[in-house]
């Protein structure tokens, strides 16, 4: 039995000025699925991800979240959608003027209007989950990259989202810190979180991904399990790309 569709992407296209970045995307993300999105630089991976929570608005097409078309929502109505979609960025984007704890408490207090103690409880639970309880009072600048990214994941989780979006979460990290972030993500996937992850960590994709999408030139060129895609790419474009990243 196929699970229920959480995100439906129908005929989505996106232009910046005259350049077509997304050309005609039609995909579905189902409840509990982990999707890995791969593809060369400039393919439009980040753009697609950012369309999902309306950081960008598609030029045409519709994106349904829980059956609701989010492309027609006003700026004000977006809040409720974004609460339900956590996002983690390549460059962490923690708020440097707040402690780790304050980073985690900000959104629950401001958006969900929780009281301070409730927010603090949830924050500490999440810090324990990412293994950083002792850094609660630290400022982001004093943390290593891996630690910052784990805090960023916790911060997104603090809103208790239905879906998590990751945009190359490990590519700004020193190699020995990649593992700690991936393991947090792996646990998240194991707990049944619906996830869309832009990544080139093939190990992670093979272990966790239900589906890998290969994107190039504004289209999803190929779709399949990690094994299908990495070991037996069908299109020339995919063969070439996968050859390059395995070769290194």
């Amino acid at each position: 039995m196929t699970k229920q569709a959480v995100i439906e992407i129908n005929n989505v296209a996106k232009q910046y000025g005259k350049t077509d970045v997304l050309k005609d995307i039609n995909e579905t993300v189902r409840d509990g699925q982990v999707i890995c999105l791969i593809g060369p630089s400039g393919a439009g991976k980040s753009t697609l991800l950012r369309c999902l929570n309306r950081l960008e608005n598609p030029t045409s097409g519709e994106i349904k979240f829980d059956g609701q078309d989010i492309t027609v929502l006003s700026e004000k109505e977006l809040g409720s959608i974004r609460e339900n979609m956590g996002m983690v960025f390549q460059s962490f984007n923690l708020f440097p003027n707040m402690t780790v704890l304050e980073n985690l408490k900000l959104a629950p207090i401001k958006v969900k209007h929780w009281d301070d103690s409730a927010a603090e409880k949830v924050a500490y639970d999440l810090l324990e989950r990412v293994g950083l309880t002792e850094k609660a009072q630290a400022y982001p600048a004093s943390l290593s990259g891996g630690q910052q990214q784990r805090v960023a994941i916790a911060r997104a989780l603090a809103m208790n989202p239905k879906v998590m979006l990751f945009d190359e979460p490990t590519s700004a990290l020193d190699p020995e810190m990649v593992g700690e972030v991936l393991s947090v993500m792996r646990e998240l996937a194991d707990d049944g979180m619906t996830m869309v992850v832009v990544t080139h960590e093939m190990g992670f994709a093979k272990q966790v991904a239900d589906e890998v999408w290969f994107m190039a030139d504004g289209y999803i060129q190929e779709r399949g399990t990690a094994e299908e895609l990495f070991d037996h790419p069908k299109t020339e474009r995919a063969k070439d790309f996968i050859g390059k990243i395995i070769n290194s």
Binding site: G79, F95, A107
Partner: protein, 489 residues
């Protein structure tokens, strides 16, 4: 000065005459002249003077007590001594002197007064005791080059604009270029810096300068002036013949002994020296203090208003409403494209058309409007400097626009712009100097007053410079301190 005094005196006489004609009870125009006897009976001679004309008569501060001294006072003392009476000095404005004489409040008037025909109609004069005449000041090291008026032909000579000296020089020195300036001190400075070869001046004033400044010498002019316009005499009530005779006797003795040049002028010079000693830079600290105070007030008030205005303009510029954006951009560009100096003039004269604003307020408004534009750009820069990722991270958490601004963007922007904002406040201290041109008593304005007062050109400028530096340096330190406290990383 003398010119104005003369005019004044004429008017005073006119007014007095008028009053008398109108039938006011005139005092003691005794047919029988008891003027001398009356004074000797009372045992005191009342002299009226206007002590603002060194070395004739001027005030001096000694041990904190103000005292009238000068050549005229010395002469009066000698006269009183000769008459065996005590001298009493009454100070008043020049134009009240003859009135005081007519109304019996004084027995005689000594104030470097010229016995002009008009005055002679209403008062009696003693013999002329001193002929001031016209001098030129030249630099001592050039004294041999310019020994007399003739040698000034075809040279640059200075004089106060609109004075007798200016016109005399222009008329009587062949080929001369007369350079007019407003302030005596500036003339002296121009002379000492060899921008001029000589400065025309009334003799006593010239001598006062020479006494105060060993690098200057005075040379006499050869203008032909009549004594009644340039000599000084003592004024008495009409018909005080016996007193006049007695005084003339004293004056004759004084002249015979050449006391005026040998003693009185020298004494006056000494007092002036004391005055100058007292008026060293330290003595003027209150002037500088007031200047610093005003400079800081202007900078502080303008800074606060500028920040408010700047935030407003920055938000307008970032707003999505086209009209706001356009207004803000135009304002900022225009203000940043024109000098503060012309803005100060514009506010002072322009806004003044609508409401009546004192110079200080005009100055503060202009500086505020100016700094508002710069601060707006700093704030906008600060907001831009917060990485787009911060905004996106906050958005993706579902935060509202205003929460993002308040909690995420502005705190970081403030930290980023702190140094630039600090520089702007420091600029404010420096730029507030420009309001001096509309007469606000800031540090520059005060410096100019001290410069005029002390005949010293560079020292007050230097002191103001150091004071400015202390202010800006101090502020830098304070700002750095706060910047340090804002660091989280």
């Amino acid at each position: 000065m003398k010119t104005i005094k003369q005019l004044f005196a004429i008017l005073a006489v006119l007014v007095v005459s008028f009053t008398i004609i109108q039938g006011q009870p005139a005092i003691a125009h005794a047919a029988t002249d008891d003027s001398l006897a009356a004074i000797q009976k009372r045992g005191k001679l009342v002299m009226a003077t206007s002590p603002d004309y060194p070395p004739y008569e001027f005030q001096t501060n000694q041990k904190g007590k103000s005292k009238v001294v000068g050549m005229d006072v010395s002469i009066a003392k000698q006269i009183a001594k000769d008459l065996h009476v005590k001298l009493v000095i009454k100070s008043m404005t020049f134009d009240s002197l003859l009135v005081a004489l007519e109304t019996g409040k004084a027995d005689m008037v000594m104030a470097g007064m010229n016995p002009t025909p008009e005055r002679r109609q209403s008062v009696d004069f003693s013999d002329i005791y001193y002929v001031g005449g016209q001098d030129f000041l030249v630099n001592k090291d050039e004294a041999s080059k310019y020994p007399n008026q003739k040698s000034l032909a075809n040279q640059k000579v200075g004089a106060q604009t609109g004075t007798l000296q200016y016109n005399l020089a222009k008329k009587h020195i062949p080929g001369v270029t007369v350079k007019g300036m407003d302030k005596g001190a500036d003339l002296i400075l121009a002379l000492k810096t060899h921008k001029l070869v000589a400065v025309g001046m009334e003799k006593p004033a010239a001598e006062a300068y020479v006494k105060n400044d060993p690098s200057l010498v005075a040379i006499s002019s050869t203008y032909n002036l009549d004594e009644n316009s340039s000599g000084s005499a003592i004024a008495f009530r009409k018909g005080s013949d016996s007193l006049v005779t007695a005084v003339n006797k004293s004056l004759k003795d004084i002249k015979q002994d050449n006391l005026i040049h040998k003693v009185y002028l020298k004494d006056a010079g000494k007092y002036m020296k004391v005055n100058t000693a007292n008026t060293s830079m330290g003595h003027y600290w209150t002037y500088f203090a007031k200047g610093v105070q005003y400079t800081l007030i202007i900078a502080a008030v303008s800074g606060v208003i500028g920040v408010v205005l700047g935030v407003l303009l920055a938000l307008m510029r970032l707003s999505k409403v086209k009209v706001f954006k356009w207004l803000s951009v135009s304002y900022i560009e225009f203000v940043r494209g024109t000098p503060l100096m012309v803005q100060v003039l514009f506010v002072y004269f322009g806004v003044g058309v609508i409401v009546n604003l004192p110079a200080l307020i005009s100055g503060i408004i202009a500086v505020s409007l100016n700094s508002g534009a710069y601060i707006a750009e700093i704030i906008r820069g600060g907001i831009d400097s917060v990485s787009k990722g911060q905004d996106e991270a906050a958005q993706s958490l579902g935060l509202s626009r205003s929460d993002i601004m308040k909690s995420v963007i502005l705190p970081q922007a403030l930290k980023n712009i702190w140094p630039a904002l600090g520089n702007e406040f420091i600029s404010l201290i420096k730029e507030s100097s420009i309001v001096s041109i509309i007469g606000v008593t800031d540090l520059i304005y005060q410096l100019n007053i001290v410069r005029a007062d002390t005949y010293r050109g560079v020292m007050p400028v230097f002191i103001a410079m150091v004071l400015y530096f202390i202010m800006t340096f101090g502020l830098t330190r304070i700002l750095n301190h706060f910047e340090g406290r804002m660091q989280h990383d």
